[in-house]
């Protein structure tokens, strides 16, 4: 069996997962893992699947396009390269960075630039745009892993300075506090 990674994008509607799993069934394949999300009206799904060696990438792609095309979905297929060693996980601590303030150009770009410079990985990003009556209430939530050897003080300071320059309220808190407060 060879493994592939499928990404499916398009307007959300019933039938998408049925179409994908149907194709894999007919090709004697297997879905090993799936992650899907919807953002406003758009569906995005990533599938890790295995198919018999006899099924070529081209054949699989054609079959998927045939099933998903009529649904208005785009599909992309790549071989999953497991020979590339997974990067050994760096010892890190999970933090949550929250910014609140008026939406503006560069908001995400400037904050994420600092985060990237410190080799911090963003594990989840949520944008809550309240907009409307209260434009000051736009909230961005960055869940990040900060490597243990990072200078947290320096990172915090840069983020606070940048937040001030962008007229944002910023909070930087270790993830434990959220779990402690809301989970028994």
């Amino acid at each position: 069996m060879s493994r592939v990674i499928l990404s499916v994008l398009g307007q959300d509607r019933p039938g998408i997962l049925a179409a994908v799993s149907g194709v894999l069934y007919r090709k004697n394949g297997n879905i090993e893992n799936v992650s899907q999300t919807t953002l406003q009206t758009q569906f995005a799904g990533i599938f890790i699947a295995s198919v018999p060696e006899t099924v070529s990438l081209a054949e699989l792609t054609a079959a998927l396009e045939k099933a998903l095309g009529p649904l208005g979905m785009n599909v992309h297929v790549d071989p999953l390269d497991l020979s590339a060693e997974a990067v050994p996980p760096v010892k890190s601590e999970p933090f949550v960075i929250t910014t609140k303030g008026p939406d503006r150009r560069g908001l995400v770009a400037e904050i994420t630039a600092i985060i990237a410079r410190y080799n911090v990985n963003i594990t989840n990003l949520q944008a809550i745009f309240k907009g409307g009556e209260n434009p000051g209430d736009n909230i961005m939530i960055y869940e990040v892993d900060i490597p243990a050897d990072t200078s947290r003080q320096s990172l915090h300071r840069e983020l606070r300075d940048k937040a001030a320059a962008l007229a944002l309220d910023i909070s930087i808190q270790h993830r434990n506090i959220f779990m402690t407060l809301h989970r028994i």
Binding site: Y25, Q126, I141, S171, Q173, T180, H182
Partner: protein
Amino acid sequence: MIRFSLLHLREGVNDDMLTEKEIISTVEMLKNEHLDVRTVTLGINLFDCASHDLDRMTDNIYHRITGHASRLVPVCDQIGEKYGIPVVNKRIAVSPIAIVAASLSSSQMTALARTLDSAAGAVGVDFIGGFSALVEKGIARGDRALIEAIPEALSTTERVCASINVASSRAGINMDAILMMGKTIKRAADCTADADGLACAKLVVFSNIPPDVPFMAGAYLGVGEADAVINVGVSGPGVVKKAIDRALSENPDLDLGQLSDLIKKTAYRVTRVGELIGREVAEELDIRFGVVDLSLAPTPNVGDSVGEIFQSLGLFSIGVPGTTAALALLNDAVKKGGAFASTRVGGLSGAFIPVSEDLNISEAARQGHIGLDKLEALTSVCSVGLDMVAIPGATPAETLSAIIADEMAIGVINHKTTAARLIPVPGKAAGDHAYFGGLLGEATIVPVNQGHQPNRFVRRGGWIPAPIHSLKN
């Protein structure tokens, strides 16, 4: 055939994913509702510092305190920073000095107080409690020396706090001690007349004092505790008030049972913060974690008031009819939420009603909505007592003793802790304004009913026996 491995199917989704609501409400509590860890208090045992030689003893004590507490402030700040939740105060509580220094004279006790003060200053804490004595069954020599030293000790030091336990449900009420304390409070006020009697703001008289209160001025390290302990005081009257306001704006017809439940859940969250931060501070300092004291303790900052909670619940002001019932509801809900949230809840845990430290209560007193009588009634259902109550400077010592005796009786009969922190403001009368500064706030002086009349009852002294239901064996 498709084989779905059910285990793997959800691998991509983290079961512990935080929801948007959880994140936002946590940040809100911190930013706008004054959620904070009110105090991390390091308890330090001084019993083995005792010596006949004063210099040796003060030396031992100074080194013990500065040794144990050297990292207290930076570690608290570091962990506060990690969670974005400030540890507002770092404090120290020591073993009752009357016992530690039982062999010392009064003036030597005062010198020792100065050592405590400078040790506290050296490590950067703002208050050190434990200049204390336990006299519910009688006044020993060391106890007497300490009590006599109190006025000078508290007026010549900045950070030292004193507490005297004069009654317990098991032992009864030591009226001789209460008479002594009435005089002591007067003297302490006179020694700090130019500061509106500030020394009295650092002195509390207790019944049934808990051994592990992290809040001042009653904090001391109880007999029976080990070498060192970290106790945490969490507070969040603003968080509770905002939670009530939010719930009522969505549903104005919530009944008292539902509001009690809401307060309980909010208290749970606030206590969890204290538990988390306290445990990490303790772990980082390699000191045993003791208790979380969940007390709604106000500060004179806007939005950090217990008094306002009464208004949110629907009363015109703290002090009007319904206040006692409301406080009973509040205090109990806080205790329940706190109890569930922590492995060990201790100290006072409940709602405080310090008159000067709460903008709303202070204003209510100024307007005449609440006076000494209602405050006394409230102490039967809340966790402390007559706290930071400014009374006329001319109030005689025996009236002070009588007020204290009333408080002690409420505590002893009801098997609860009660206390009195009374401040007779020299040279000022009812209606005048007293200013203590910082966290101690400011207050309007409340009248005392017939306070100037002689009090032959308390002057009889002796000992009011323990109530019959204390015979529990």
